[in-house]
């Protein structure tokens, strides 16, 4: 995304090239142009732009992609953290 850069070297996205069939679905769903097809495989051409939305992993028919996707706001993460310690009850974190 032009003009916006978030922290580098943090994205948990992983590609297993062995499994990749080069279908191009990841290129289609990624809103940040993290992938590009080179030959018959996909490649991670801009990993730092990944926002870990999980669209690519969800839509990869070969199961070649993995990412720790989920809530990405501080309030949501604090709620999640408190819930993991059972300090608060279950409920929606955000976007609700």
């Amino acid at each position: 995304m032009k003009g916006f850069d978030y922290l580098r070297n943090v994205a948990t996205l992983e590609l297993n090239s062995e499994k990749c069939t080069g279908c191009g679905r990841c290129v289609e769903v990624c809103p940040h142009q993290v992938f590009a097809l080179t030959g018959k495989k996909t490649g991670l051409v801009n990993l730092d732009a990944c926002m870990e939305c999980g669209a690519c992993a969800k839509n990869c028919p070969a199961g070649a992609l993995q990412v720790d996707a989920g809530v990405g706001c501080a309030a949501g993460l604090i709620v999640e953290w408190l819930r993991d310690r059972n300090w608060i009850g279950a409920g929606k974190a955000c976007c609700s």
Binding site: M1, K2, G3, F4, D5, Y6, L7, R8, V10, A11, T12, R25, E28, V29, C30, P31, H32, Q33, A49, C50, M51, E52, C53, G54, A55, K58, N59, P61, D68, A69, G70, V71, G72, C73, A74, A75, G76, L77, I78, K92, C94, C95, S96
Partner: protein, 296 residues
């Protein structure tokens, strides 16, 4: 207020069995925007039950998802309504939908058309080809500005409680005028984090939101110092302001990561590990400075 549209299959114009099928959420605003961009065309619109939540957030929660799409295709008897087997989905719905699963279970192929509804007409007219611009996220000044009121409303309640507490403590220490001044300083810091930081986002240096927020907070501290004739303060009071106000705006700026379309969960976690302890330290140090200033 009710922001939901009943889920199901809707006709736009006079669609026939060959007309395209678009899929959206049952958030009224999403539905209205999609309908308005399709004005004058003949299409089918399959509305999923997302409980009034927009596509992006519903996809994250999984309600705009594989299961609901498959169920809605069945309930609406879509296979009998159209001849083709192609669904057009918003790109931001992809985190919830496994296209290959939908294909396997319903026979309908999924094409992720565009991020923004306003690009759908061009997509349809282009022979259903997504241009690079249609799949690139943006975060324009306008797109950021419309989020500011949302952030302010979210901050309203906790800030009111905090402002009341600040007034009581500051008034007890230094009198009512100081209490009011402290509340003004605090509310300015909240604004710096919730409004100024998002608006100036691409121009503030650094990648970390907490850092950007600390900078706007520092700027506000300086402005407040000048406005409130800080040259008359004790050095301890000045130190308290310059420690605590940036911590407040930094927290709200960090929280804005949840509203942006480009910050990652791992990045926010990393920021939080460093920034939250730093904010806590700044607040504690600020309180100490204020107390020392009072009793020295």
């Amino acid at each position: 207020m009710n922001y939901m549209v009943p889920p199901g299959l809707y006709a736009i114009g006079n669609p026939d069995p060959d007309s395209p099928v678009l899929v959206t959420a049952n958030y009224k605003m999403s539905y209205d925007i999609v309908r308005s961009v399709l004005k004058g065309r003949n299409c089918w619109l399959l509305v999923l039950e997302t409980y009034g939540i927009n596509v992006w957030c519903a996809a994250g929660e999984g309600t705009f998802g594989t299961k609901e799409l498959i169920r809605r295709i069945g309930v609406s008897e879509l296979a009998g309504v159209v001849n083709h087997r192609r669904l057009l989905l918003p790109i931001l719905g992809a985190p919830g939908v496994a296209a290959h699963e939908v294909k396997k279970q319903t026979g309908f192929g999924v094409a992720y058309a565009a991020i923004r509804a306003r690009d759908i007409p061009e997509y349809l007219d282009n022979g259903m080809v997504t241009t690079p611009a249609m799949r690139e996220m943006t975060f324009t000044a306008y797109e950021r500005a419309v989020l500011v009121p949302v952030e302010l409303m979210e901050a309203l309640k906790p800030s009111a409680v905090a402002a009341a507490a600040i007034f009581v403590v500051a008034a007890a220490l230094q009198g009512q005028a100081a209490g009011l001044a402290a509340v003004c300083a605090y509310l300015g810091a909240v604004l710096a984090g919730t409004a100024i930081t998002p608006l100036l986002l691409p121009w503030l240096p650094g990648r970390s939101f907490a850092f950007k927020g600390a900078l706007t907070g520092l700027a506000w501290s300086a402005v407040f110092y000048l406005l409130a004739q800080g040259s008359g303060w004790s050095p301890f009071a000045a130190a308290a302001a310059f420690l605590m106000l940036p911590a407040v705006s930094s927290f709200y700026a960090l929280n804005f990561t949840g509203c942006t379309p480009f910050t990652s969960r791992s990045g926010v976690k990393k920021e939080m590990r460093v920034a939250l302890p730093a904010m806590a330290c700044a607040l504690v140090a600020g309180v100490f400075a204020a107390l020392i200033g009072k009793f020295i």
